[in-house]
Symmetry: C2
Subunit: 712 residues, 2 copies
């Protein structure tokens, strides 16, 4: 994009600006940067005096804009330093005098380098292209319409910089007022290619020069013929963040494998005394059925739960994969030293009393020890973790043994307990539950790197309040999403919520608009709330991946059909336009007053055979890609009869290799609850008393399938 | 607003337009209407020739706008019939010629009455004020910003016409870009009073003249000094809807009282044969414990369930309040005749096979019979109804006996079954469940009129797909809302959903944007989905009404605190700014590393005494108006311990007359489910595994309290 000579020119310029102790580039400096990166700006010259201004205006031809050039005036319009649409020598002279006079009055001590004489940009659609440095994600590029839309409605979209051409084009469609760019009320469409090109160039600029904190092209005038930035504003950072220690992918996988599939575990602070955390952890490891070695470590040695205890972890025979800490905060550091000396790759730090209680120094000490020995730290301030396929419950909470496809993580212990209770109540099949707590070291991207590889994990669901390194997370998510869905509940979405996050973890919560766009860019499914995260986690591994967009609703209750249709539109899904032959096929099974079309309304009071025949049609027709069923409880077709026939038909087709997602909403008396549990256990995502939840689960699966590139 | 002379002038004008067979008023005609209603429009004259145009332009002074006047050209700009900003005799002459030439070319056969010479409106904020005739609500007035905002983003708001001054002002705040009217980027605020005045005048105009189908003031130019409509467009209706038969309030109450509190019920088609609907209805009436008289009616007479059966309802001794029909559709009409002759005021029509299956004529016949005898019809095509405080289950579904404060209605039988199952599963206290089905007669406004008076009903929740008479519903809702909350689930919200509604009931689904605004205007709480409607119905009667806006979160899990804060903002609630003395009082009970402020984070692992002390503080302080609790399951404070202490404290304060809404989110293992059920039973709205639901319920209560005028 910019050649090495161009980059060298910008490097030299930025260095000189910083050497001069300035953070804001002047307009002529901005023009140099823009030219180096091919960012289209109007032709312009810097006039030192009135006569130069007249000469330049004459050379540019047509009306011009005059703008003050001063390192001390950054808001030129406020200072009266801009005059637009000046033409001819006498007008240029008058405007030059007026500008200089205004600025002298506004800021008497400002150094005035001259007046910029600039081509007048043609009328067109005003847009904003910019870049900022986000505390979580680093350089991000922004795009929005100019004027009130951006400011009042916050109609702006963000992407990680640099962006590809496709990503840049996607930004044009991501704003609420996207249609305006395509031309409304007979206005012509703007040049989308040119706009995307400008976005890409700005994103490349900030990626190449980390010291650029902010770029504003505002406004950019977009016309059918191109896009020209009427003004460019570039700010340099006053300081840059310290780089975070990074692990190579192979290092992460090696330690994570030993954490999640350990052969030998030491419990630091194991205890025989009921009520102690070190006792709960021991009991859960033993009762959970972990088949590897479990070594209690306790200064009093002896035996604990019938196992030989060691005074120190260094005395434990053989290699140890995981040391679980169940001792008070103050004792952790010396014990961690021993864990390091023993060469244990993973320390699971259950104790609290570190950064979350203001003891940042104590936590920093642990990190320093861990880095010295190459020990990875999970926590501190966590409930521990579960790896169900290993029968591993390294936690003081109760064991959990329903093996399945979803890995769940939580930053908060309370949310971890909600995960456990929900999973147990719904018998959600789980591959892992991991507490992350203070995230002194291991965080979401480490776990995601592992879960992407873990064959037991088919879906990952994460509760988080902040990301230590947004870019590392996006990288891990992008590597995972093509293989399995990643659901994220980002807490602290709203400003009040973000404030609470601040007081809870001391972490600076990112701007939610940036989080939202970047998580979507990474292909992550964002859950709107805790219950949705849990329901998606339960449903996504159960649902097969759809092969196309055609959703068909088959319902016994017309009323459910209407609500299911509402939910389908709300979730961005498409009600299939039923082809005439399929419509006729449905009609053959339903009463004459039933409504074919979509929803297929089989009407209430129909026998099991009508449900079965129509579900078979939907399963068999290759043009149908997903089924949404609406069941109405009647004596003719009781809930369990419906559940069993639906499960049987779905399995029969699956056995023949025909796999489609099927979800169901059951309206009826309390027997529908048992029927839903049965259906869920047989591969059909079903809920009682709601038309929204089954469709939301299907919608989440579709969002993932699109992000994974499995649907076009 | 408009005097009788003004109205007479408009009446005369509209009559003459209709007499001429026209539906669109010309600009000069629009000006006459505007002047009569005090709608500010620019000064203008109709020039018949060039010389008149020059003279008028001179008289108006300053630049003017010239516009073609032709009954045959409604899109003047497209026809080249408008020139803006003409000043001086020669410009006016040239513009006049150009316009007439353009229009001749555009529509050679158009009659040209002349050219309108109009004052040029000053620059300002463009807005749109209009009025349309909605199929459900009749005349509604609309307001939005001009330009792309209205068209692309649909940023427009509606109210029933006519509006009060307060309602008109509320419209200015109801659009997404409301801030623009207050002035952004240093622009001055517009004259809100003048804008509201224009809205009110337009709304009055359409209310006074039902034949006006549409009014468009587009654009209205709003400045700090006023608001002037640059263009006014008025269209007349081609046909008007037939008026619907209306019952007086006292008539409605009299028949509803006998329906919901009957002394004597006849079952038409009662049967001894299990599996028949007439048997199920009889059994449910008897088994449900209804204390009044139950009279089986069956042509074979004899005894049914041990009660004497009659050949005809006319043979039943004494007065009958309700006749429940459990016979095939074809037999209903003659039986209804007999019901009419007996003087029974209410017929409950369970059978299907009427309008919903295309048998509109059969249904119309019933309505005609009913009107002749003054019988009110519930249904047809319904499951029946429950009136729990009467132990009355007049339905073929299973009985329901948990007495309580919510009355639920549903248009669809499937949704009715979901209501029953949900209520039974959650032990929701119910006053009534009513199926409305085809709504051939009794509809939501009749029921609402009764429920408003019914002392057992504290909250009304209604599922509906359409409203037969939107204005009657709004009137009933407005009368009810000051006394009790009204929750509405409007199905067919989205365009796909609305299409399904059309095929289900044959009713024209209204535009959802209009529904949304008007339901809000009526003070109704709109539930976003079925599950929300059910949860609000369960929670609202349990929650006391808040006395102010200050919400305090007390949480044992910081993670829940963040999510609860998110939910509070999402639901339009306010996290209280905790005063220093209260903050200090909280701090006295929580660990030094806990976060006071709001949320009050008492930290995990605290004993019951910490929960109790902090909840007591929140209950006792009169500046706190509502509590949101976040519980974290630990061994130190198990779920039922938390539930019992919370219920005890809340009751203790209630006994002392201190009543505040308290909601709770319980994060923990499955024991939290029992704890939530206990709390719900003791006046605390509590949910497991979700931070969203308890706050959504509190948010619904607040929305009602505001609509009812109980909060300022």
């Amino acid at each position: 994009m910019a050649g090495s000579q161009d980059r060298a020119r910008v490097r030299e310029l930025l260095d000189s600006v910083r050497a001069a102790g300035r953070h804001a580039l002047t307009a002529p400096e901005g023009k140099i940067v823009a030219d180096a990166y091919g960012i289209a700006v109007p032709g312009e010259e810097l006039a030192r005096d009135i006569d130069e201004a007249v000469a330049y205006a004459d050379r540019l031809g047509g009306p011009v804009v005059l703008k003050i050039v001063s390192p001390d005036v950054s808001h030129k319009t406020e200072a009266g330093g801009v005059v637009v649409g000046v033409e001819g020598a006498s007008e240029v002279r008058a405007a030059f005098r007026r500008i200089v006079g205004n600025v002298r009055a506004y800021a008497p001590d400002a150094r005035i380098d001259g007046v910029q004489v600039q081509e007048l940009v043609p009328p067109g659609q005003e847009v904003i292209i910019g870049a900022v440095t986000d505390p979580t994600f680093g350089k991000v590029v922004a795009f929005g319409l100019g004027g009130v839309l951006v400011e009042v409605l916050g109609d702006i979209t963000f992407r990680l910089a640099p962006v590809t051409a496709d990503e840049a084009r996607s930004m044009l469609d991501s704003i609420g007022a996207a249609e305006v760019l395509r031309g409304v009320r007979g206005a012509p469409a703007v040049d989308r290619w040119a706009l995307a090109e400008q976005i890409q160039r700005v994103s490349r600029l900030v990626a190449d020069f980390p010291e650029i904190a902010e770029v504003d092209l505002n406004p950019v005038i977009a016309t059918p013929e191109g896009a020209v930035a009427a003004d460019i504003r570039i700010l340099l950072a006053t300081r840059t963040a310290a780089p975070r220690r990074a692990y190579a992918r192979e290092e992460i996988l090696a330690s994570m494998r030993r954490l999640m599939e350990p052969c030998s575990i030491a419990v630091i602070g194991a205890s025989d005394e009921p009520g102690k955390i070190g006792n709960s952890v021991m009991r859960n490891l033993v009762d959970g059925g972990f088949a590897g070695e479990i070594h209690p470590v306790n200064p009093r040695a002896g035996e604990i739960l019938g196992r030989k205890a060691y005074r120190s972890v260094v005395d434990v025979p053989g290699e140890v994969d995981v040391a679980v800490f169940a001792i008070p905060a103050a004792s952790v550091a010396p014990a961690l030293e021993e864990v390091g000396r023993k060469g244990v790759p993973n320390a699971v730090l259950i104790p609290s009393g570190f950064a979350e209680t203001g003891q940042q120094a104590l936590q920093d000490e642990l990190v320093a020890i861990a880095e010295r020995y190459g020990v990875r730290l999970l926590g501190p301030n966590i409930y521990g973790y579960y790896s169900t396929w290993q029968n591993l419950c390294a936690t003081f909470c109760t064991p959990y043994d329903v093996k399945g496809g979803v890995a769940l993580t939580s930053q908060s212990g309370g949310i971890g307990m909600a995960i456990l209770g929900f999973a147990r109540s719904t018998r959600t099949g789980v591959s892992a539950i991991v507490g992350l707590g203070n995230k002194s070291d291991v965080d979401e991207d480490d776990l995601l790197t592992w879960f992407a590889e873990d064959p037991h994990t088919q879906c990952v669901a994460m509760h988080l309040e902040d990301l230590k390194d947004g870019r590392a997370f996006v990288e891990a998510a992008r590597a995972t999403v093509p293989r399995k869905p990643v659901v994220v509940l980002k807490a602290g979405r709203t400003s009040a919520g973000a404030r609470a996050a601040g007081s809870h973890t001391g972490a600076l919560a990112g701007d939610d608009a940036v989080y939202d766009d970047i998580l979507r860019q990474a292909g992550v499914i964002r859950a709107p709330g805790l219950n949705e995260m849990l329901e998606y986690a339960r449903a996504l591994p159960v649902l097969p991946t759809p092969k196309g967009d055609n959703v068909v609703v088959i319902t016994g209750a017309g009323g459910s059909g209407v609500l299911l249709s509402d939910a389908i539109v709300d979730n961005g899904l498409s009600l299939m336009e039923i082809p005439p032959d399929l419509d006729a096929a449905f009609r053959a099974f339903i009463p004459p007053f039933g409504a074919a079309g979509n929803p297929v309304d089989i009407t209430g009071g129909e026998p099991p055979s009508t449900y079965e025949a129509t579900i078979r049609l939907g399963m068999a027709d290759p043009r149908v890609h997903a089924l949404v069923l609406g069941y109405w409880h009647t004596i003719v077709t009781p809930p369990m009869v419906f559940a069993e026939l639906t499960a049987r038909v779905v399995r029969e087709f699956r056995d023949r290799g025909v796999v489609k997602p099927v979800v169901a909403s059951l309206a009826g008396d309390t027997e529908v609850e048992e029927a839903c549990a049965y259906l869920f256990g047989h591969g059909v995502v079903a809920y009682p008393y709601t038309t929204e939840k089954p469709v939301a689960a299907l919608g989440a699966k579709y969002r993932w399938a699109r992000a994974a590139g499995l649907l076009t």
